[in-house]
Symmetry: D2
Subunit: 313 residues, 4 copies
């Protein structure tokens, strides 16, 4: 359970070796054709310590589609702009349902259970759009992510966005469903396009680990001394990731990994060890609830080796 | 955010003063007649530090019905006896449904989502009964709780158990429903009687805080150097409390309090600050999802004053 | 489409020959062990014309367990005793759900959708019990059926009733669930025992066809000139059979057969051609929604040969 | 219960007098703004006898929006073109759910329960579109209705269609939801536009009663000796109307009126007395499940006066 920072590189190398040696399990997300073209057997991991040091192994510098991980960033933007008012439109309870279920929405009159299920993230996109065009909103979202990651090269993969739009009937259904309760401020098609775009942002594990550092340090970006969000809000974003970050596998992730984290169907997972480190891991094959198969396994191994868990000391 | 242990008594006293001065909100659980007779305006809080020091304020030495908090103890017993085999009969995902919903059970063929909803706890009772009588099982459960609390005086309130049995149609329905899938090893009526009995155990805040100390110290009972459960298992019990400990208000509790915890409709909440302290709080009036109204508020104030939260540092 | 009464015997013989020549399809109800012991390949059919003439073919004089067909008789008794007051406790809409689903009950606060699903029939049993013992209630039910069938030999098969009780967890769950809404007037166990008993009444096709004649003649028992129920009520019982008589296969039965009817998992179906005839058919193998496979087919053939359908002229 | 054709005009006049004298109950459908502008207190009724004679009273010659009644015509067109193949895409069981529920669709993988709920009718529109434009499809639908009603003046109210499109998020959600299962052959927006258009056809009670005559006479249009559909198919369309014609009030309509019928949120109801007559009634105020309040009442009175019911003789 004890390890020194010097050991970290060795640990990451060993984990990478171990998980990539396993027989392939799980499938790449196939409902977005563009994502299905990715080489499924890649694996990368990056750890950013609270002091800014970065360690990585495997394909940690390969760009991948961050997909639902982007929901952490749009929720942060929404909290910065509207504070607790966002909870009028979206809840903060785990959903207990497959990630794109429409049943719960009907039961609860169009109010999504949390900002990390699809319906919730679409609602957040509507909330922060404020009458602007999807392009204008995307400019703001990209700008925010570039700032917290300290990297101006971060971009949207427009081919993925278009691929998602073409096969996006389920999300269109969710959006029109919520709009039917009179809950939308912007045109449904505009909100959907913005949503598909922010899901199509591409980042590397290294960029993602850096972008998450403000959640390690109670909201503070230590590299420049700027508060991205307040301490209280940073902790609450972590609590949302813990409770709702892995669709209907959130309990399983808490049980096995013990850290706040957010996964995406592109195969990425971003996790936070409060006070200590942020972690990004990526491997495209998914388990049956939509979370990276090797990514989860690697995080489980990492937390066992390091003792990192919010549930122990 | 910084405080010394010396401040702790002052903090507890101030919190007690503050919350008891508030106008009464919420109602005492009324579906169990015996519980409805409790004076609704009591409030107690106790903190046990990892080193064994105890601080308390208010009605911390008054006995109350621990109700669903007992599920943490029966789950621990089940894990000690059967290890990961228990996950064949019960899941570990938040339920996203009111605490006694039968809908989810139908969807998932009689397998409860987690051991802390009623159906899950009844399943755990069936698992650990092993052909014995309810009285024999209760002997074991009481024995375990007395050991970890280091207090042989802990008892069952038989009047409450009988009151629950009389009004227990919903739980009887859940039990027969699961039995209809062929999932029960013991007679339904015996399992129900054991379940109503362990929910009717009475403890004080002080006893409860002490009983939770093994979850603070990665499974170790420091007072006697005995491992109640392994480190890994202690962390996993904490993760279950975080994800599923407050019925359909688990997300809210994580968001506001930021600690693993388990509530009961008797008005008690048991919470864990890994490595630092265990906390027990009690006040009978409940919010609309069934968690202690003042108890949650007091924990929120306490974590703000102490900085205790697993989501920050 | 045209046929004379003289043809009827020929038609029944031909249908019997045709359906018994088919390869066996469907399974006997297996969740009630006693029913599973029946020879699955029996087939009987009986037609009672409005004037009292009886025609039959196959095993029309073999006793079988009428199961849910008994719900028509208990509902008739309830309507005779309490009139439209029964609709306070049970609805009259098709359920659109498998026949023993508990989900709908939760959505609608313990009020079953109609008197022919299990929950509804259990509610009817509670309604007509009126503080009596199950034996006293059964005496009344048997007496009523013997009167309308003009046959004092009709009995309960106690072995089947006991078999149902032993495997009746699903029905016990439904009953306790409804009781949890405070909706029961008698002890749950008594009501269940009465319910299992009236489902275990045994009759022949011939007896059943005779018993249904009052529904052919707008409520009148022509053989003795007595009104079993009023014209309006007879029509309404027929409408309930049409809308709800075949569990989640009611639409299919209306579509293929076009007559009001009620099936039971013992393999029987009782159907009504208003103004013309009543029909009883029996064959133990069931389709996947729980209705007699050959029974439905025979009724479809019969209505095609005779032109009997309420949806044409 | 006995009446002569000569009495029919008197009966209709008396019913009209009686129902229009009642205090107003129910509300006009408000979710389609254009429909909300209709004078809510109109009432019309028309009866077409099998021999072609027409009787009417009240506002029987005022045009109104037929809305869901159009689903009977599109289903008939689909059956004429594709026969029983349509049952691969749509079921024939009552839905047991509010008329636009999406929950059932999720449970049953995007296959609507029957062609008369919104999802089912949208599926039928997709089925009969066959790659054509919405205008081309509408031309065919209008042509069919004009033929069976023998009236070339029947039109679409484009203002209503546009009003429905603007507020049609719920239907858009249903359509995209089904499309997400890969079940759509045409563009979702085209299918929706066709659907909104055929719901916006306007007819009078007189036209509607005439259009339904083929369902009275086993599929035959007696005025010209043409079979609109086969006898078997006409009976099956009647059975669908009986089982599914009034949303979640189908059981109630069968219970009170006892005839196959189809209602629309414009306040119209079309009903069939096999072999005898077709009836159209219209009054805009709706009961809580969406069926015409006075329309249902008038039909109940009419069937009591005439003895018309498929459940008696």
């Amino acid at each position: 359970m004890t390890f020194t920072v010097e050991d970290l590189q060795t640990i990451l190398d060993e984990i990478t070796l171990a998980v990539t040696a396993l027989p392939a399990e799980g499938e790449v997300a196939c409902y977005i054709p563009q994502l299905a073209e990715v080489d499924p057997d890649q694996f990368g991991i990056a750890v950013a310590l609270a002091d800014g040091q970065i360690f990585h192994a495997g394909d940690a510098q390969t760009l991948f589609s961050i997909q639902s991980i982007s929901k952490v960033f749009t929720t942060t933007i929404a909290l910065r702009k509207f504070g607790d008012d966002i909870w009028k439109r979206v809840g903060r309870e785990p959903s207990g349902d497959p990630f794109n279920s429409i049943v719960q929405l009907e039961m609860e009159c169009g109010k999504p259970r949390n900002p990390f299920i699809n319906a919730g993230a679409i609602t957040i996109a509507d909330t922060i759009m404020e009458g602007r065009t999807p392009d204008e909103l995307m400019e703001e979202i990209l700008q925010f992510i570039r700032e917290i990651a300290h990297d101006d090269s971060i971009q949207i993969d427009k081919k993925v966005a278009e691929s998602e739009l073409k096969t996006g009937d389920r999300n269109a259904s969710l959006a029109h469903f919520m709009a039917s309760f009179g809950l939308f401020e912007n045109a449904v098609d505009d909100v959907l396009w913005a949503y598909f775009n922010h899901c199509s942002i591409t980042m590397t594990c290294e960029q993602l680990a850096k972008a998450a550092l403000f959640l390690v340090s109670d909201g503070l970006d230590k590299s420049c001394g700027v508060n991205v969000v307040s301490e209280k809000r940073a902790r609450r974003i972590n609590s949302l990731m813990m409770m709702c970050g892995h669709y209907d596998g959130s309990g399983e992730f808490a049980f096995r990994v013990g850290l706040p984290g957010k996964s995406g169907v592109g195969g990425g997972i971003m996790a936070v060890v409060p006070g200590k480190a942020s972690i990004a891991v990526w491997s495209p094959r998914l388990d049956k609830v939509g979370n990276s198969y090797l990514g989860t396994l690697a995080l489980e191994m990492l937390t066992q080796r390091t003792g990192w868990s919010v549930f122990g000391h």
